[in-house]
């Protein structure tokens, strides 16, 4: 249930295209089934009118696309950014991954996005049409005659339930009202796992991670993962692209993936959103964020451009790794 309408965005994009402010629009385009919205570069008004969409399935964070798009495209690109996307946008600027001048960023408000896996759990497979009806979605499938009514708030993405900010931290122009940073409960789940015994923790993660099929979608979608050569593509790494033949690979992959983005992860939630196996990757990222906040002071990656990531920084008074555990035992 988005407050801003698709037509408003199309009008905005068309006018910026026609007055020459931008030469292309990076936007969401209609997929085959209504829920499979796909990123696309729009260059004409006709294309926008025909294919541009803005609905509850526009979870895709465009920030990362700017890295390759600005590199390959001569001209200025209009990009629409939801509040969480703007954090990734800033983080990529901090890391000098694209040129700011090549982008015209329009901040748009977001009411939360739908998790397709959750939706399908209610409606079943074979979704052919999705309509909005107030606070509900009316979902037609090829197996049922009558559409199924699903409450929007019941099928929100995890990252939207625990949204950390409705505030845009970067934009050239803002549509709608500016929101606030939200006091979210996003670390609650991490704390729950921390309170388990090591055996329980191990069993929990074994259960989650063993489902991984190593499609690498989490890496590919992550705006913090922008290395041109990735360790996971290296056949010498021992964790190259292949189905996990043994459990070490999964664990190694997940530790390395989360560690690589530690301190730079904005908690945008793309990794968990794209995982076809519904693995709670955000818990690994948030563990690092929570630790960093506790050990070295509150830090939100992407809140501002140019801030120094905690793991490439230090003070002479930092905790020793052993003290970290001692402290936790005392707390417990």
């Amino acid at each position: 249930m988005q407050k801003i309408t698709q037509n408003q965005l199309i009008e905005k994009a068309a006018s910026l295209l026609s007055d020459g402010t931008v030469n292309a629009v990076l936007g969401w385009s209609r997929g085959e089934f209504g829920y499979d919205v796909t990123p696309k570069m729009f260059k004409t008004e006709e294309d926008l009118k025909e294919n541009f969409v803005w609905n509850d399935f526009c979870g895709v964070n465009f920030s990362k696309y700017l890295v390759s798009k600005t590199d390959r495209f001569d001209g200025k690109i209009l990009v629409f950014l939801k509040p969480c996307d703007t954090y990734s946008f800033n983080q990529l600027l901090t890391e000098h991954r694209f040129e700011r001048e090549k982008v015209y960023a329009v901040g748009i408000p977001c009411e939360g996005m739908v998790d397709v896996i959750k939706l399908k759990a209610v409606t079943g497979e074979g979704i052919s049409e999705i309509k909005e009806d107030g606070e509900n979605l009316l979902v037609t499938t090829i197996y049922e005659d009558a559409p199924v009514k699903v409450a929007f708030k019941d099928v929100l993405l995890e990252r939207c339930i625990n949204c950390k900010s409705k505030k845009h931290v970067a934009y050239d122009e803002l549509m709608g009202d500016e929101g606030e940073v939200i006091e979210s409960k996003r670390f609650d789940e991490v704390a729950k796992i921390e309170a388990m015994t090591p055996d329980e923790r191990f069993a929990f993660w074994q259960n989650e991670l063993s489902r991984c099929i190593r499609c690498n979608a989490c890496r590919d979608a992550c705006p913090a993962c922008t290395c041109e050569k990735c360790v996971f593509d290296n056949p010498q790494s021992g964790v190259e692209n292949k189905a996990p033949a043994n459990s070490f690979e999964e664990k190694m992959f997940h530790i390395i993936r989360a560690y690589h983005v530690a301190g730079r992860c904005t908690d945008c939630g793309e990794c968990s959103r794209v995982c076809p196996q519904n693995i709670p990757l955000h818990l690994l990222n948030r563990k690092f964020i929570k630790d960093i906040n506790e050990f070295y002071g509150e830090y939100q990656a992407g809140a501002e451009v140019g801030s120094r990531a905690p793991l490439v920084d230090y003070t002479t008074e930092d905790l020793e790794p052993g003290e970290v555990f001692d402290r936790r035992d005392i707390d417990a």
Partner: protein
């Protein structure tokens, strides 16, 4: 009676400028520490990429210890401060995944601390031996 005591394999990353020399001193003074400790010399403790630690476990290590110069004494001024943050984050994550926290350790041992080196290794090996074989981070393909 059959005694089937598991001999742990310990990997110790030792900074060239301090702990590695500390190990030498321990040897010169004929201080004992278990032969299960395999020392890998690194130019500075901050040379230890977190992936080295994971790789050591993959190749069969039962415990990994990193030794560097005392804070403030790093040959490259600040390397060990970075190590400290990195390893705090890594060890805490391993703990979060349910891997026994006694399997990892970071210690500051100077070139003059031969006795501390030996004592540290003895203590670490003892703790890891008590834990037994590393089952939670093992790679079956790398089994000896």
């Amino acid at each position: 009676m059959q005694v089937n005591e598991h001999k742990p394999l310990i990997v110790a990353f030792c900074c060239n400028w301090c702990s590695y020399a500390g190990a030498d001193l321990a040897g010169n003074n004929r201080l004992n520490y278990p032969a299960d400790v395999k020392i890998i010399r690194v130019p500075c403790s901050c040379r230890v990429n977190p992936m080295f630690v994971l790789r050591a476990f993959q190749r069969g290590a039962d415990g990994v210890i990193i030794c560097g110069c005392h804070p403030g004494d790093c040959h490259y001024t600040s390397g060990n401060y970075y190590t400290r943050r990195r390893m705090a984050a890594l060890f805490s994550m391993l703990d979060f995944l349910g891997i026994e926290r006694e399997r990892t350790r970071l210690e500051w041992v100077s070139a003059a601390e031969g006795a501390k080196f030996a004592a540290t290794m003895n203590d670490f090996v003892e703790k890891v031996t008590a834990l037994g074989e590393n089952k939670r981070l093992e790679d079956l393909r790398c089994k000896r």
